[in-house]
């Protein structure tokens, strides 16, 4: 069953076509990778799915329901969460608070009851604190909980972004280059975390990644973009031997020389 469906998705910035007629289906519970050379339009694609950019044309369906035209906070409420290629944590607040921001929508304290500081609200904030701590344990960051987010090592910041995204209780998690800048040990921890999340949290995962070893290892389905167009899709084995893909990465002629 397809949980996320994209039909004829196009995004133009003035004369530049960043995404052109992209079609894809993401199966529920799968791990799907979106790859392509730099500037292929991968992050633009993520930005459209999360409501940051409005598509020029085309459709995006989550569980057969259109999410085009929704504001980012509404898309996230529907169940799509993401992390960022260039880490975008709230640097000046603590690690625990970063995760709690992700729960904003799941706390029911309205404005008025918050100002009056009703016991119900206080209890809820306490629960939220516990839940946030539990999520930090899940990604292995509990020892940093009271640290300001900007003081964390790079790999830990990437994991914190994942914890913060999980706090929104997503159905689909978009990871934008989750392994960028990680050392091999951190990358293998990340691989394990992605597998665990899918199995234990009933998640569908879509990732953009340049680390081909990671991509080939964990994804079941790969979509390849180049110059804003989808040039191939399939299983890792199919993609590895696809001439168009090799051409896009290495240039014309490389495919024939390689084989």
């Amino acid at each position: 069953m397809s949980i996320l469906t994209v039909k004829n998705l196009t995004k133009q910035f003035g004369g530049l076509v960043a995404n052109s007629n992209i079609n894809m289906e993401v199966q529920k519970g799968s791990i799907t990778a979106v790859i392509g050379p730099n500037g292929a339009g991968k992050t633009t694609f993520f930005n459209m799915v999360t409501g940051v950019y409005q598509p020029t044309s085309g459709e995006i369906l989550l569980n057969n329901e259109s999410i085009v035209g929704l504001k980012p906070h509404q898309v996230t409420k529907k169940g799509i969460a993401r992390t960022f290629q260039n880490i975008r944590l709230f640097g000046a607040i603590t690690v625990l608070e970063n995760v709690m921001i992700g729960m904003h929508n799941h706390l029911h304290g309205g404005l008025f009851s918050t100002i009056l500081n009703l016991p119900r609200v206080r209890k809820e904030e306490k629960e939220a604190r516990k839940e946030a701590y539990r999520l930090l344990e899940y990604v292995g960051l509990e020892s940093f909980f009271n640290e300001e987010a900007r003081n964390l090592p790079y790999g830990a910041q990437r994991k914190l972004e994942i914890a913060r995204a999980l706090a929104t209780k997503p159905k689909v998690l978009l990871l934008d280059e989750p392994a960028a800048g990680m050392n091999p040990k951190e990358t293998s921890e990340l691989t394990k975390l992605i597998y665990n999340m899918r199995a234990e949290l009933d998640l569908t995962i879509v990732l953009i990644e340049h680390d081909m070893k990671l991509v080939m290892e964990i994804s079941e389905h790969i979509v390849v973009l180049d110059h804003g167009e989808k040039i191939a899709e399939g299983t890792p084995d199919e993609i590895r031997n696809n001439e168009k893909v090799i051409e896009a990465y290495l240039g014309k002629g490389a495919a024939t020389t390689a084989s």
């Binding site: 504001k71 906070h73 996230t76 975008r88 608070e97 709690m100 921001i101 918050t114 609200v121 904030e125």
Partner: protein, 328 residues
């Protein structure tokens, strides 16, 4: 000379704290809006002024229908504070919705000019309404808490002169402290405060974490303006007479206090406000003494702003501000 300065110190501190508390709360409005939108909301001084007028109007109405005699002054005060903060809070929210939100992605300078425009508009609207209703735009409200209390500072140390305070001093201080403590709790400990801090740091990412950015910005304007309006009421009660132009210079000083404390920083604004109030009163009382009469009390503003310039030369980010590093 030192002796003369010490003589007046108790009175200087009392007057300085009163004025400082007013600066501090108005400064909060500037600093909150700056923190979240990087906009200097010049209309905020006028929100304060509007609060003073709304509060006085309510008190005059109460007096007109004879409620003032039957109601304890504290009850009247609480009623007036609540009604005024709701009115000015909604006013601030409305200004954001109508004048600033459509310009959110415009260059900063455009919004700044709009803010100055709004500020003139409010001055004239208030003046118009006041003249229409009262025939005069300078208003004096019914006096509440006007009893004088003597403080025997000389019994603490013989170098001090005795000081005297209006009983409204205590009202101003108590209400100001309650407002500041509540705000500090709200910002640091609640879900909405956390959302405000998140939006201040990165609007787009906050939106992707299900935070409704427009709602949070509207909330910021509501809280800042409600506090500003309530402070207007306190000002009217403490100083008696108000006119539509009190917001301009007071707003400028409150903004200075916010910069002094480090703009965008809540606790910095509180500290900056109190510091500026005390400095100003100190200068008013002591400049003639120190300069042998060459500089009169009216040079107090020069003194206060000179301090500001000196602080900013050595600590450009303000006393509590964090150094921001521009990444390239």
């Amino acid at each position: 000379m030192i002796n003369e300065v010490l003589h007046t110190l108790p009175q200087v501190l009392i007057d300085g704290l009163t004025l400082g508390a007013v600066y501090a709360i108005v400064a909060l409005g500037y600093t909150m809006v700056y923190g979240i939108l990087e906009l200097i909301n010049f209309a905020h001084g006028e929100i304060f002024m509007t609060g003073a007028f709304v509060g006085t109007a309510i008190l005059l109405t109460f007096a007109g229908v004879g409620w003032m005699a039957s109601m304890p002054a504290v009850v009247a005060l609480i009623l007036v504070l609540i009604i005024t903060s709701v009115v000015t809070g909604l006013l601030g929210m409305g200004i954001e919705r109508v004048a600033y939100r459509p310009l959110r992605n415009a260059p900063k300078l455009i919004t700044l000019i709009t803010a100055i425009g709004i500020s003139f508009l409010l001055q004239d609207i208030v003046r118009f309404i006041a003249e229409l209703k009262k025939g005069n735009y300078i208003l004096t409200g019914p006096s509440l808490f006007s009893g004088q209390i003597g403080i025997k500072a000389s019994s603490v140390w013989s170098g001090f002169n005795d000081a005297s305070v209006k009983s409204s001093f205590f009202i101003v201080i108590v209400v100001a402290v309650i407002m500041m403590v509540t705000l500090d709790f709200f910002i640091n400990k609640t879900k909405w405060g956390m959302a405000m801090r998140a939006v201040a740091q990165d609007r787009e990412t906050a939106a992707l974490m299900t935070v409704n950015v427009n709602k949070v910005i509207a909330l910021t304007f509501f809280i800042g303006s409600a506090l500003g309006g309530a402070t207007g009421v306190l000002f009217a009660i403490q100083y008696g007479t108000i006119d539509p132009y009190i917001g301009f210079i007071l707003g400028l000083k409150a903004f200075t206090a916010a910069v002094l404390g480090g703009i965008g920083n809540i606790r910095g604004a509180m500290f900056g406000g109190v510091l500026l109030g005390v400095l100003e009163m100190f200068a008013a009382a002591n400049l003639p003494v120190i300069s042998n009469g060459i500089l009169g009390a009216e040079y107090k503003d020069v003194f206060a702003f000179a301090i500001l310039i000196i602080v900013l030369i050595f600590k450009p980010e303000g006393l509590f501000g964090k150094v921001s590093v521009e990444k390239v």
